[in-house]
């Protein structure tokens, strides 16, 4: 039996689970992955789960969320209507869709697709088997071991996820949309792992969505490693629209070689407890990383964006711009840490976090932080938190716009600075629409479709192996 049912998550439970299912967990591993797993497990056994006595977790308390009972699966679940889940897409956006259900890759024909241009897309578990040499070079290298307990836990347990490989000089002809849907009739704890590799001068647009199918509680501990080789360009979007009982820990580790360029946009529309740990390492000169974020929270939702940028090489530019609108009793954390090493001269780094608090009970803990050891750098940071501007409200209302619409216009304008950075027009329109719906309280967790299109204009053809799921 590869399913463990209904227990709260504790260090002891995870240790016991690992020992009990060792055979299943290690099943597809090439040798380097096995070794890594064991080391990560040992590290987790020492570190355990983070708690809010740790500086990095001071304002985000996992206790309540770990304290629910969850099922844990070591194999994909049967009987899900995957075809229905992935039925629709973003109107007019021509993407290649890769689907995940509860972190497991789903496909109809082959678990790993090889395109004519050399790109490889599909299941990480399959890549373990088919491409051990690529895996050996990259897997686990960007997360490391011992940095934090949750990442180690993922490295120890993760069995599947998405593998994307874009060879040198290949430009992906269309954006790739990676959709992870959580769908289970019971509470579920899942840990998936993604590895995204861009070769020299490769280009890719990647839209990465986390969605829920129902209102069941879930705890996702997801790690994504991304490597951009020299001159590579990645346009990366992370869309989070989960139900209010969802906990999502999303660790994304980017490593950029010389001349590589990253644009990443984290858009959080809904969820219970969300933590995005994003780190960028400039491993060569002349790299660029623009990290944007937008979060719209209400009820008792909690959002935490930790962004760490390591300027380990000279002549690199990083921009962090995160904006949030906090309603009701929601809470938020922004923690930006730019680390400029001694030899990273001519670094250009800016950090900004701006928040609107709509109520007296909403809270935000904002901490932009620069740590600089080089002397020839340009760095700046700023943080503002306030209410909607009363002068602007008055101006709009004097033109006949009612207070609700005026609020909406101003909130949307605030949010749209981030949405406006989306360079794929079809995606931008879709996100604009979702943000509008979210601000109007109309955005539901889609029961049919991950991207919330009630009337898909093109029926989606998605290859799913029904015998596998």
């Amino acid at each position: 039996m590869a399913t463990e049912v209904k227990e709260i998550i504790t260090k002891e439970r995870m240790i016991a689970l690992f020992e009990k299912h060792r055979k299943e967990i290690f099943k597809n591993d090439p040798e380097p992955v096995s070794r890594l797993r064991q080391r990560a497990f040992d590290s987790f056994a020492e570190l355990g789960f983070p708690n809010n006595r740790m500086e990095e977790w001071r304002n985000t308390d996992l206790k309540e969320w770990l304290g629910k009972t969850y099922d844990y699966h070591f194999r994909p679940l049967p009987g899900m209507d995957a075809l229905k889940i992935f039925r629709c897409n973003i109107p007019h956006l021509d993407t290649a869709i890769i689907g995940q259900i509860n972190g497991w890759y789903v496909s109809k024909d082959v678990p790993l697709i090889r395109l004519g241009n050399g790109m490889i897309l599909g299941s990480l578990a399959q890549a373990f088997k088919e491409y051990p040499e690529i895996i050996g070079l990259h897997y686990g290298k960007y997360t490391g071991i011992g940095k934090n307990g949750l990442t180690d836990l993922n490295t120890a347990f993760a069995q599947d996820g998405i593998f994307i490989y874009v060879p040198d000089n290949v430009h992906s002809p269309k954006p790739i949309q990676l959709i992870n849907v959580i769908q289970h009739d019971e509470n579920i704890f899942l840990q998936s792992r993604n590895l995204i590799l861009l070769g020299k001068n490769a280009r890719l647009s990647l839209v990465h969505c986390d969605d829920s199918y129902n209102h069941q509680a879930s705890f996702s501990n997801i790690v994504t490693e991304v490597h951009l080789d020299e001159g590579a360009f990645l346009d990366h979007y992370k869309l989070q629209n989960l139900n209010n009982n969802s906990t999502l820990i999303s660790n994304t580790e980017f490593q950029l070689e010389k001349d590589a360029e990253l644009v990443s946009n984290f858009i959080t529309l809904n969820g219970g407890m969300l933590r995005n740990n994003t780190s960028v390492l400039f491993n060569g000169p002349h790299g660029t990383a623009n990290i944007y974020g937008l979060y719209l929270m209400d009820r008792k939702q909690h959002i935490d964006n930790h962004v760490y940028v390591d300027h380990a090489s000279p002549d690199c530019t990083s921009v962090e711009s995160f904006k949030g609108i906090m309603d009701e009793s929601s809470t938020g954390v922004f923690n930006g840490h730019v680390f400029v090493r001694k030899d990273a001269q001519k670094t250009n780094a800016t950090q900004s976090n701006r928040n609107i608090l709509l109520t007296d009970t909403a809270k935000i803990y904002s901490k932009p932080f620069l740590e600089i050891y080089a002397d020839d750098v340009k760095c700046g940071h700023g943080s503002t938190t306030g209410q909607l501007d009363t002068e602007s409200m008055f101006y709009l209302m004097q033109r006949g716009i009612g207070p609700e619409s005026a609020r909406m216009l101003l909130m949307f304008a605030f949010a749209n600075e981030i949405v406006g950075k989306i360079s794929i027009p079809e995606l931008r329109f879709r996100i604009e629409d979702m943000v509008k719906k979210r601000l109007q309280g109309e955005l539901q967790i889609c029961e049919q479709c991950v991207l919330h299109c009630s009337t898909p204009e093109h029926p989606m053809e998605f290859d799913i192996d029904m015998s596998k799921v």
């Binding site: 101006y395 004097q398 304008a413």
Partner: protein, 250 residues
Amino acid sequence: MLLTIKNLHASINGKEILRGINLEVKKGEVHAIMGPNGTGKSTLASVIAGREVFEVTEGEITYKGKNLLKLPIEDRAREGIFIGFQYPVEIPGVSITNFMRTAVNEIRKYKGLDPIPAVEFLKLMEENKRLVEIQSNLTNRSVNEGFSGGEKKKNEIFQMAMLEPTLAILDETDSGLDIDALRIVANGVNKLRTKENAFVIITHYQRLLDYIVPDFVHVLFEGRIVKSGNKELALELEEKGYDWIKKEFE
């Protein structure tokens, strides 16, 4: 009578600014309100608009037969009151097009009308842009963001043209304008004048009144209208300054 103000007293933070204003405005009229700085001209516009920081302590305002002071800000606007602001606020992220479409449609909704069809709206935008000679790409930009002083004032007149108010109060629209912009603003107002609407032009200088000829000129001093007359009064003020009024009423 379109607007009747009777014995209006208003204060801010306990300090009385308006001390018994009386004013009547009929449709088809243009009134100029002049006076030295700090005598309550902008406060009068703010109180008519419904700005909440001002407290009306006495008196009444009747507009189209309704008690104006009971109406919320947006309903006053929907009933046709427009304020051309002295310092229009910048609103990053809200495009003029989106702003105007929202405003036009909310006003139409209030009147029980359907939203304006897109084609008709765009046509209206184009016409009014021409009226105030603003560059066509301006309307894709955020409201007033990065606009020059002249552009902001032209944008106010543009919005006025879009919303077709019954009573437009222009608060020192001429301040900070060069002669070309002044001509454009005045020209916009003159083209919009009809028998069915009225304008109240608040100004410090007589200059604008060379272009927009008022039917009545009022002098506001220390919270009261102390003198009313025709356009000759404006010329007299221009010539003599405000000192003689100060001497007379202090």
